[in-house]
C-alpha cells in the first residue's frame, strides 16, 4: 500500500496524525512506508490537490475525502471526530476504516 502524509508547517497537527497512522498500520498488519510530503506553496497545493494539512492518502486516494467544493490551498483541514467534535486531526477510527477498505481491495 502506498501511504502518504501531506503536511504544511502552518498546522501543528501532522505529528499526531503521523503517530495515529503508524499505530493503525501496525494494528492492521499493513507493512508500508509512510511518505511524508511537505506542501510549501499555493502552487504546490493546487498541483498536489492538497485540501489542507494533514492529508492522508492511501494508494493515491484521500483517506477521508473532503467535500468536492474544498479549495486546494495552504490551510489546516477541519475534521470531525466520530462524536461530532471539531478536530485538527482525523479520527483514528476513520483512518483505520480507510486502511481496511484499501487493504481489502488489493
Amino acid at each position: 500500500m502506498k501511504v502518504e502524509l501531506l503536511w504544511w508547517e502552518g498546522c501543528p497537527s501532522y505529528p499526531e496524525t503521523l503517530a495515529d497512522l503508524r499505530r493503525v498500520l501496525r494494528d492492521e498488519g499493513v507493512e508500508a512506508e509512510i511518505d511524508l510530503v511537505e506542501v510549501e506553496s499555493d502552487e504546490q497545493a493546487r498541483a498536489e490537490r492538497f485540501p489542507g494539512s494533514p492529508t492522508v492518502r492511501l494508494d493515491g486516494t484521500d483517506a477521508i475525502p473532503p467535500p468536492e467544493t474544498e479549495p486546494f490551498s495552504l490551510t489546516c483541514r477541519v475534521y470531525r471526530l466520530r462524536d461530532g467534535r471539531v478536530s485538527a486531526t482525523p479520527d483514528p477510527e476513520d483512518l483505520r476504516e480507510a486502511v481496511r477498505r484499501i487493504d481489502e481491495h488489493r
Partner: protein
C-alpha cells in the same frame, strides 16, 4: 511583547462597522473562521465572554482575506449574522497591524490585559481544542487572578493553532 509590558492599543471595526479597542481589563483573542483550532475553541471562548461581562472581550481576525476568502470581512459578517450575533465584537484587522503589534502567532492566540493595559497572560485558552470539558480553564484562571489584582500563576502557555495568514 513580554508579560508585564504595556500592550499596544488599537481601534478596529466589528462586523457592524463600530470601532472597538482595549478598555479596562481586556481579553484579546486573535482568531479566524476556518481554522480547526479556532473552531474547536470557539464556543468555550464565547462562554468566557458571557461569564465575564465586566471584561472587554475582543475577537480579532487578522488573516489575509484575499488568499483565504473564508476569512474575509464579508465572511466574518455572514458568520456572526448566521449565529444570530455573538456576545462580543468580532473585529477585522485588515492591515494586520494589531496582530503584528501583539506578535500574534496563531489562531487562536489569547492575550489578557489588566486595567493598566499591561499584558498579564498570553497563550492558549486551555490544553486541548477538542476537549470542551477543559472550559478554557487557563484563560479563566488567569482572568480570575487579574480581576482580583493578582499575578496569574500560569502567565504564559504555548499558543496552539493555525499560523496567521500574513499578506
Amino acid at each position: 511583547m513580554n508579560i508585564g509590558d504595556e500592550a499596544p492599543t488599537f481601534s478596529l471595526p466589528d462586523t457592524d462597522g463600530a470601532e472597538h479597542g482595549p478598555d479596562g481589563v481586556t481579553v484579546v483573542v486573535f482568531t479566524c473562521n476556518h481554522c480547526p483550532y479556532a473552531l474547536g475553541w470557539h464556543e468555550r471562548l464565547l462562554q468566557v465572554a458571557r461569564d465575564y461581562p465586566q471584561v472587554t472581550f475582543l475577537a480579532v481576525n487578522p488573516n489575509d482575506g484575499e488568499r483565504y476568502p473564508t476569512d474575509s470581512y464579508e465572511a466574518m459578517k455572514e458568520r456572526v449574522a448566521a449565529d444570530g450575533g455573538w456576545p462580543h465584537p468580532y473585529l477585522r484587522d485588515e492591515s494586520q497591524a494589531a496582530a503584528r503589534a501583539y506578535d500574534a502567532k496563531t489562531t487562536p492566540d489569547v492575550f489578557i490585559l489588566d486595567a493598566d493595559s499591561r499584558l498579564r497572560y498570553r497563550g492558549a485558552p486551555d490544553g486541548d481544542h477538542r476537549d470542551a470539558a477543559q472550559n478554557a480553564n487557563w484563560l479563566r484562571e488567569a482572568l480570575d487572578a487579574v480581576l482580583r489584582g493578582a499575578e496569574p500563576e500560569r502567565a504564559e502557555t504555548e499558543p496552539v493553532g493555525c499560523s496567521i495568514k500574513w499578506r
